[in-house]
Symmetry: C2
DNA sequence: GTGATTGCAAATCTTTTGCACTAAA
DNA sequence: TTTAGTGCAAAAGATTTGCAATCAC
């Protein structure tokens, strides 16, 4: 029984329920709650650690291991994108459209750049035997 | 005494010696040997692990911790660039000019793209209170 | 019921660090 | 000699995994 679904805010949960079901994952209590945190607002950037803290603060009982597993499952299913900008820490982005990032190394903050805001004037041939999958632009900024 | 300097190939070692001295680092046996592996060829991409294996295979006695320390010192001194392309592993690049990368996730291979081969047609304003330091383009490719 | 998911703890992997020893200046 | 660098082993940080209990179907 998913008691949280009985509240007056049941519509968003239905959306998240459908989103999770649509990728053939079981809508468990933890996945629904994490999904609500992730997908209720647009363009969120989280780490496993930050999402876990947020969940605990919101009174959601979920282990860090499950947060890792959920982020990985969501990413593998295409619900999230993994963003690699800093060594030793993975960021997950709820924006799954083609886009890029500002990254502030001073405080580890990510901000989206719309895909159409950046155009490559040219691109050399990829290495022999390979084809281009996509490209990621990271614009590194610093506080001034 | 740096016995290896006595061989007939002493010229490259002089270059590496000077390179290391030029950034106020002590030219120890380990740094000279790692420097030779790194800088004798152009555009090398290594991880601490891969460079350590290479060194051991070449008969150089050096610990993994020292390889990490050396890569970090070299990078801090501007002799190397750290490249962030995959979660949980740091790559170091001997190309310190402005450039970008092809990255093949299938085998973890990096390949340089000259800086002038890529031009951004436009770039939105950076987040408030920040200024652009530089941008990195990673073109992700896959085997076909 | 059956198979997927959770949670915890233990394991793994990469990287850093403390400290006694060694080497460079 | 004075200070920096090395090596080992231990520690640290991020992430994954084994397994019994639990939950969705």
């Amino acid at each position: 029984m998913i008691e949280i679904q009985k509240t007056e805010n049941s519509r968003p949960y239905t959306e998240i329920l459908n989103k999770i079901k649509s990728v053939s994952l079981r809508p468990t209590r933890q996945r629904l709650a994490l999904g609500k945190l992730l997908f209720d607002d647009a363009d969120r950037h989280v780490t496993a650690e930050s999402l876990h803290e947020e969940a605990i603060a919101a009174g959601i009982k979920v282990s860090l291991a499950t947060v890792y597993n959920t982020l990985n499952r969501f990413a593998a299913a295409g619900l999230l994108t993994e963003v690699v900008v800093a060594p030793g820490r993975s960021y997950y982005d709820t924006n799954i459209t083609n886009h890029h990032h500002f990254f502030c190394e001073d405080n580890g903050t990510l901000e989206d750049i719309p895909g159409d805001a950046i155009k490559l004037a040219s691109l050399p041939e990829p290495p022999l035997g390979t084809k281009v999958k996509r490209f990621d632009v990271v614009v590194r900024v610093e506080k001034d």
